[in-house]
Every structure is written in C-alpha cells, then in structure tokens.
C-alpha cells in the first residue's frame, strides 16, 4: 500500500527537492506542526502582529473609487468596494505576516541564520525586519534586474542589516533569486532557516505561508460582517506566487463567495511577455512543487515578464493550481498598462498609492465594476503600498503625471 500523499492539493504540490534538503524539510514540517499546536506560539505571534505590525489592518470602503466609475455622485447607488489595507502593515505590504510567523518559528527551532529570496524586495524587507527584531543574521537573494528597479527596498534591507546578494543568472528576477537561495540552502542547510516568501516551493511552505497569511482573510471576514452585516460577493487579489491571494481566500473557502485571482498579463498574452501562469502554464515541477509553469514544449522554463517585480514569476503556488482546476477560484489577468492606469486612478480618487502588484487587483475591479449591480459587495486586497515603485511608475508614465 502506498502512503497517503503528504503536502498535496489534489494532484498539485509535493516535495520535489534534492535529498540534501529532505531532512531539513521534514524537520521544518515537524517543528511547524508542533508550534501550530501550541497556544503560546500563536499568542506570541499575535502580540507581534498587533503591536509591532499594526494589525488588524483597516477594511476601508473606497466610496470615491466606486463613485468615479459610476460617473459622478449618484447617492449611495454603486457597488461597494472595500480595500483590505495591507499597505498599512509595517514595512508596507502583506509579506510581514508571513515573515513574522516564519522567523518566530526559526527562533523556536534554535536557528540564528536566515536566508530568503525576494522579487519586489517587499519579502526581503519583511524578512530583514523580522531578522533584525529577533537578532538573527540575514542574507537575501535578489535578481540584478529587480535590484535595479526596486532600489528603495535594497537600501532598506541594507539599513536593516541584511546582506543583499545580486543574482546575475537567467532573467535576473525572482525565479533566479529562488534558485540561488536554494543553492545557498543546500550548502548551509545545517544552520540556516529558509524563509520562503510565497505559497510556492516544497511542502510544508505552501500550507505554512498560507496559514500565516490567513490573518488577512480572517480579519476581513470579521470586518465585513461588522460593516455590511453580510459576507462579500467577491474577493479580488493579485497573484504572483499567490500568498496575499491565498491569505485572503483561505478563510472564505467554506463559503459561496467568489474568489478572483489576478495575474500579470505584462505586455499582453499574445506577445509572450507576461506572467500569467494559471492562464498559460502547463503542469510541471519548478522550485520543489508540482504546479503550473510557464514553459516551452521541451519543458524548459520560460522567462516571465511584468512591470510589477513581485508578479514576475513563471510559476504559481500549487494550491492555486488546484483551486483553478476545481474552478473554486477564477483567475483573470490585466496588462502592465491597465495596472499603471489603476495606480493613477486609485491615487487620485482615494489618495492611496498602491504597489504595482496590488494595482493589478484594482485594475481588474475597475474593468468589471461598470457591469456590477449596485448591490454588489467586493473586497480588494491592497497587498502593498507603491513607494517602492515610484521610479518605475514615473518613468512608465512619463508626461502623464
């Protein structure tokens, strides 16, 4: 008899890693299961989330945004759009929810050395922050292209005492940073803890990162019941690896609420320059998990493209691949241009500058809003703030600002 498969979501997931990493993954799984069962662990994490991270983050009713689309003031007669303000969490994105959980776990495991990969730099900053707080050393791998386009975050990581290691292989973005972080990990496995930044990678990362990010959805569920007296009709979140989306979706999986993930269509799907893995990917193995992957007919991984560095990844978390196959969640995509327009719209209607990643979720909402009945209630996950993107935004929108 074969054992039941551990770490799978339907046929997706698993642990496809070199033997060298297996003992460490098993140790991590055991340590996480042990911590998960300990009320003290959650109590300690909860205190940090409240007093250090600044949770709960607000659920803000973006009435101006809704009104602007309805074409003027129309009483209260347009769909209700709420923004889950992860941009207001310490360090400016949802990534801190996960890094506080994982670095606290590393502390419980007696580890003193932290490594991480980062794309937009938000996960790197959040990891460096938690490492500084817990007095651990921290190395962050980052693609050379991302280092160039996310300079403010590079400087923040350095200020926090982390070493930022540039990665010059391949597309010089998130995928290549993960490769290098994994190579570091197989070499330093005995003393280091690898803080994976999204719901990707081998088991137990996809489940563990989802659990730590689920605080987003739990809060949103309570908050929307307080403000609207009912569950929302739709949840919208951008999907890179998929952690902010899984964090929002997970506490609603047992409901009828529509779940919508938004991928980056880059310059458009037909150009081949995009990161829409759920739309265009094929089953395969990348970075330790069986999931959907952007790849050529021979199984070589393709380079992804997006104006948003945090979405620029040719893979996606296995749980999303499964929700997609089951059609429990729906996935759409928006282009670089649509996301940039959403940055302007949200900035000018609500005074909120979203991260380029989060702007993809906003852009999707803007697209479908005119067709929604005024009774519709939607929550958009505003996964991060746009300060880090000012250089990209100003150069892309040259002359329009």
């Amino acid at each position: 008899m074969e054992q039941p498969k551990i770490g799978y979501f339907g046929k997706y997931g698993g642990r496809f890693v070199p033997e060298m990493l297996m003992p460490a993954l098993l140790e991590l799984e055991a340590a996480y299961n042990e911590a998960k069962a300990k009320p003290e662990f959650w109590k300690e994490l909860d205190e940090y989330l409240r007093n250090y991270v600044g949770r709960p983050t607000p659920l803000y009713k973006a009435a101006k945004l809704a009104a602007s689309l309805a074409g003027g003031d129309n009483g209260n007669n347009y769909p209700r759009i709420y923004l889950k303000r992860e941009d207001l969490a310490h360090t400016g994105a949802h990534k801190i929810n996960n890094t506080m959980g994982q670095v606290l776990l590393a502390k419980y495991m007696g580890k003193k050395e932290i490594i991480a990969e980062t794309g937009a730099g938000q996960h790197g900053v959040a990891t460096a922050t938690a490492a500084a707080l817990f007095g651990m050393s921290c190395r962050v791998y980052m693609g050379a292209k991302d280092i160039e386009r996310q300079q403010p975050n590079v400087k923040r990581m350095q200020l926090l005492g982390a070493e930022v290691i540039p990665v010059n292989q391949g597309s010089e973005t998130l995928k290549d940073a993960i490769n290098e972080a994994l190579r570091d990990w197989v070499t330093t496995i005995r003393q280091t803890y690898y803080v994976m930044g999204s719901v990707v990678g081998p088991h137990p990362y996809p489940s563990m990162v989802r659990d730590f990010q689920s605080v987003i959805g739990r809060e949103a569920r309570t908050q929307i019941l307080e403000q609207e007296g009912r569950l929302p009709d739709t949840l919208v979140a951008c999907v890179g690896g998929g952690s902010n989306a899984m964090g929002l979706f997970a506490p609603f999986l047992d409901t009828e609420v529509n779940l919508v993930g938004v991928e980056a269509a880059g310059e458009g799907l037909i150009t081949g320059h995009h990161s829409a893995t759920l739309a265009e990917g094929v089953d395969g193995v990348l970075h330790g998990a069986f999931s959907l992957i952007l790849q050529d007919e021979h199984g070589q991984v393709l380079e992804a493209h997006s104006v948003a560095p945090g979405l620029d990844y040719p893979g996606v978390g296995p749980e999303h691949a499964s929700l997609h196959a089951l059609e429990r969640a729906k996935y759409f995509y928006v282009t670089d241009d649509e996301a940039l327009n959403a940055v302007i719209t949200l900035s000018r209607t609500e005074g909120i500058i979203p991260a380029l990643e989060s702007a993809h979720a906003v852009a999707y909402a803007l697209k479908i809003l005119p067709e929604l009945p005024s009774s519709h209630c939607m929550i958009i996950n505003l996964s991060g703030r746009g300060d880090k993107d000012l250089n990209i935004i100003t150069s892309q929108l040259e002359g329009r600002l």
Binding site: E19, M20, K175, T188, I189, G284, H287, G288, E297
Partner: protein, 265 residues
C-alpha cells in the same frame, strides 16, 4: 541483469572502482557530445553519465550551470538527446546513465520518457529532485521499462532514510560527498570516508561517490572507499573553451589521468 549491474560485477571481480565521467549533453552541440563520449569510452570510462541541460538547475554549481546554458543556447532538447543516445548506443558498449531535472521528463510524459530512454539505450536514470517519498510513480515506470533508478544519498540523510534510499535504488546508489551544489572542490569533508564506509556496509548495491571530486588526487584517496567515482564539473570544465578538437583532446587527457589514478589506488 542490467548493463550497470554487469559492469559493477566485473569490476568487483578485479577489485576495481568504476570511473564515471559526466558530460552535459549538447554542450555546445550534440556532435561534440557524441565525439566526447566516444573519447571517454576509449580512455577507459566504465559508465557514462549524460546530464540533460535544464533552464533552472538548482542542484548545480557554476560550471554545470554554464554548460547547461551553452547547450540550451545551441537548441538542444530531451528528444534530440535521446536520438543522439540511439546513435551512441551503436558505437559504445558501456552503460549510459542519464541525469535530468524533472520538468523535461514531465513535459514528455513520464511513461513516454521511460519507453523512449530504454529504446535509445539508456540504462539508468538519476532524478536529482526526486526523493524516495515522491518516487513510487516513477519507479513503476522505470521497472516496466527496464531502467535502473539511481537515488541520491546525502550527508544529511539519517540511517532510516539511507536504508530507504538503498532499497529504492537499482543499479547503484549515488553518494553525494558534501552538502552543497555540484562543482569541483579543493577539499572534501573530513567525515566523507567514514560516511562512504557506513553506506557501503548497509547497501546491498554498489555505491558511487560524486560531487566535488576535482582530479587525480581526490580520486586516489577515494577510490578504495567507493565502488564508483563520478566526475562531473572537473570534466565538464574541459568543454568550456577552444575548438572542438581542443576540447576533446583536453577531455581525453584529463580522463586518462583519472583512469591512471583509479588504477593506482
């Protein structure tokens, strides 16, 4: 019995250690790989390991990464490599082991790959991202096709895992010498010989050591403690520069030295 099994049995009778050189298939083109493979066979290689290039080789260090890039830039793919093996099989007798990351295999289809590999003349397969936990579907395919599957044992694997790895492996067990990626090293871990001795005592199958073995000196030191030695990056490096003839000559010289070292040990 498999060609790999027969090779180790014969070597064991004469108390010799197998020399297992590696090439990245298609670096920089398949014609060069075929010529290099014939050269290795002529110079005394016992088993040939062919590495299928992959875009994201997470277990490999800079040398094999660069070689994989050269090969992919030359347009090689798994199907073309299997065709080249078919040709090579007509020319050389020694066992051929194919090392590949999983994604190209999944893309072709696991069963299809098993059939095609066997048909081409591949004897064994190394899947460095496949731990024993995830192995059953592949092991069934391999058994049906008549391919050996060589699993990796690492310095971090405890006794229970090592037992599972020895049980699941057919052909031989691949003992990774160090914690890290592939790539020639100046020195190998002190506890290596002890680890190899322990693994050989528990393994009913031959144990070949690989990762980091840099040249004749390391070969002389390790040969008495392993049934085979796998030389990857140190030989792949010979293919970095110069004309095709220069590459083949450098490779030939290097493997001749390794062969002498293994015979002397």
């Amino acid at each position: 019995m498999s060609r790999i099994h027969n090779t180790f049995t014969k070597l064991d009778e004469s108390k010799r250690t197998a020399l297992i050189p590696c090439l990245v298939a298609g670096d920089p083109d398949l014609e060069t790989t075929l010529e290099a493979a014939r050269e290795l066979a002529e110079r005394g290689a016992d088993i040939l390991e062919l590495i299928v290039p992959f875009s994201d080789p997470m277990a490999d260090g800079p040398t094999i990464q660069a070689a994989s890039q050269r090969a992919l830039a030359g347009g090689v793919n798994l199907k073309a490599i299997l065709d080249a093996v078919t040709e090579l099989r007509q020319q050389i007798e020694l066992p051929i082991v194919m090392m590949t990351y999983l994604n190209p295999v999944f893309r072709m289809g696991m069963s299809e790959f098993g059939r095609q590999a066997k048909k081409a003349g591949v004897d064994g397969v190394i899947l460095p991202e496949l731990p024993v936990e995830e192995a059953p579907p592949w092991s069934r395919v391999a058994e049906d096709a008549g391919l050996d599957t060589i699993f990796l044992a690492s310095p971090t694997s405890g006794p229970e895992r090592l037992a599972e790895i020895c049980k699941a492996s057919t052909g031989f067990v691949y003992a990774v010498t160090l914690t890290g990626t592939t790539g020639a090293r100046e020195s190998l871990p002190e506890e290596l010989i002890q680890n190899l001795t322990r693994l050989r005592m528990m393994s009913p199958k031959p144990v070949a050591a690989g990762f980091g073995i840099s040249g004749p000196e390391a070969v002389r030191r390790l040969a008495p403690h392993a049934d085979g030695l796998i030389i990857g990056s140190a030989l792949v490096k010979m293919m970095e520069e110069g004309s095709k003839n220069e590459k083949i000559r450098r490779l030939g010289e290097a493997v001749t030295e390794l062969k002498a070292a293994i015979e002397m040990a």
